[in-house]
């Protein structure tokens, strides 16, 4: 994409502009980065409920009797044999194991599948799956990205708010029964909606896929219905801090074509046994030999002379990590955790280095770090959404 390509909009772009959002270019779209402020928005999702316009995500429909086996051959996670309504998080890899993208796969019916990929990788994935589907019988692809809006409702009150929607009045039982990583389709006059109990914040939440024409009325209805619940719109900046605390990987940060899902810490989404998929051999080899790098959680510390912790600088993406005096890796994401108030980072480091001897370079100065386990903040996507952490 060249610099003079006009940014794409969503059905909500005008609403965002009219409601004080700071707009930024993101993956070819003009998107809201913040409304009230990143910390206030972050807290709203952790404590109440927030709305996200994530229409920039890519949605590719795959239909036909051949989809199940074909798609399973592209995904690191198993998608063959899923029950209807099940959602799976997976990566798609190159033959050498480099990650093309991470995504959700929906099995809505035996011959009715949906691939939801990152906006930044949409064109690449659309071309990749089209290329891999060429000549395959029983696979029909339909890129629905430019007519499908996506609104996420996330936070402890997300279930209460979503349950108030007029369109879901007849689906109360289905909504109540909807488990984490399941979804159902809802026929609507303007085209079906997909109601999905998924999200990327670590909170109870839903993602609603609707036709473009339904997006603005739905958004406004959610805001109107959720006034007493404290609902508010959330920008991309808080979306990033919200996904960071539970250590959910973000493509372009923890995930890249230059390393594998095993190194990036999403080995749980790689099923090697009794399957064939693109990248499997390379991943099996790496697993057998031991991945050369691993993802670790770090806390930047800034003790004063008396040993008291003071606020520490943020180790941002690209900050070099050292083991003793030897380069050991690089920070993939870092921020001051709004919930925990600590300067935390995820870093990809050489598997062999001693975690006791790490430091990070920020603006030409070395800072001590301690290795901390991640998720930094436990997700509460299942069970009681208001439970203490």
């Amino acid at each position: 994409m060249t610099d003079d390509t006009p940014l794409r909009t969503t059905p909500l772009t005008a609403w965002h502009r009219d409601h004080g959002a700071r707009m930024v270019p993101f993956a070819g779209f003009e998107m809201p980065v913040q409304y009230r402020g990143v910390l206030a928005e972050h807290a709203a999702v952790r404590e109440r409920v927030g709305l996200f316009d994530i229409t920039h995500m890519g949605e590719i429909l795959a239909n036909g009797p051949g989809v199940e086996a074909w798609l399973d051959g592209l995904c690191t996670n198993r998608v063959a044999g899923l029950p209807d309504g099940k959602v799976v998080y997976t990566a798609m890899c190159r033959p050498d194991g480099g990650v093309l993208d991470d995504m959700l796969i929906y099995r809505l019916g035996r011959e009715d599948w949906l691939i939801v990929c990152n906006a930044s990788n949409h064109d690449k994935i659309a071309a990749w799956v089209a290329g891999r589907a060429a000549g395959v019988a029983g696979v029909a692809l339909d890129d629905a990205s430019d007519r499908t809006a996506m609104i996420a409702v996330q936070g402890p009150e997300a279930a209460a708010l979503t349950g108030r929607l007029a369109a879901l009045a007849g689906s109360a039982d289905a909504l109540d029964a909807l488990e984490f990583y399941t979804a159902f389709a809802l026929p609507r006059p303007g085209g079906r909606w997909i109601v999905s109990r998924t999200g990327y914040t670590g909170e109870r939440g839903y993602e609603l896929y609707v036709p473009y024409a339904d997006a603005l009325p739905l958004w406004e209805e959610l805001l109107a219905l959720g006034g007493d619940l404290g609902v508010e719109p959330i920008g991309l900046a808080a979306r990033d801090t919200l996904r960071f605390e539970p250590a959910y990987c973000l493509y372009g940060h923890e995930l890249s074509e230059d390393w594998t899902p095993l190194e990036a810490g999403i080995g749980w989404a790689v099923r090697l046994k009794d399957r064939e998929f693109v990248g499997r051999e390379a991943l099996q080899r790496q697993k057998d030999a031991g991945p050369p790098r691993r993802l670790v959680g770090l806390e930047v510390t800034a003790p004063d002379a008396a040993g008291r912790d003071r606020p520490a600088p943020i180790a941002r993406q690209g900050a070099p990590v050292f083991c003793g005096d030897a380069p050991a890796g690089v920070v993939t994401s870092g921020t001051k955790s709004p919930t925990l108030g600590r300067s935390l980072a995820l870093a990809l480091i050489d598997a062999g280095c001693d975690p006791a001897d790490l430091s990070v370079e920020i603006r030409d100065r070395r800072h001590p770090v301690r290795v901390v386990s991640y998720p930094f903040l436990a997700a509460r996507v299942k069970g009681d959404p208001r439970a203490a952490r």
């Binding site: 990143v38 910390l39 900046a237 606020p311 600088p313 943020i314 709004p338």
Partner: protein, 125 residues
């Protein structure tokens, strides 16, 4: 309208001269545009800085910006309280959120700074 008791820079800092001391902070406009401040690096007391020199950083959740010294001279105080509570910069940028003080070496440097009217025009006030 911005506070008229002080001078400004195009980098959105304010300077309040009292005797030979110049107190430096960021403007309300900057505090708003930056968003939530989470970390500050300030110069050490005793450092001698030149006008326009980068002497520290101001870090928000999303970005890091340099802090400049609007006048040259010796740093004679830094606001320890904002180091421990960086959000003070957002809450009260003109008073409690001051950052550091410089002993003014050359008064003529103050004359090179923007007046309140000029700064107001700069930010489209």
């Amino acid at each position: 309208m911005v506070a008229s008791d002080r001078k400004y820079t195009k980098d959105h800092e304010w300077v309040l001269a009292e005797g030979e001391s110049a107190t430096v902070g960021v403007t309300e406009y900057a505090a708003h545009e930056l968003g939530d401040v989470v970390f500050l690096e300030l110069p050490e007391v005793g450092t001698v800085v030149a006008q326009g020199e980068a002497v520290g950083t101001i870090e928000t959740v999303k970005s890091v910006e340099d802090l400049f010294s609007p006048v040259g001279g010796e740093v004679i105080a830094v606001n320890e309280a904002v180091l421990d509570a960086p959000e003070t910069v957002n809450q009260d940028p003109l008073e409690a959120g001051w950052l550091f003080k410089v002993r003014i070496e050359d008064r003529s440097e103050m004359d090179e700074l923007l007046s309140a009217d000029d700064y107001d025009a700069l930010i489209g006030g």
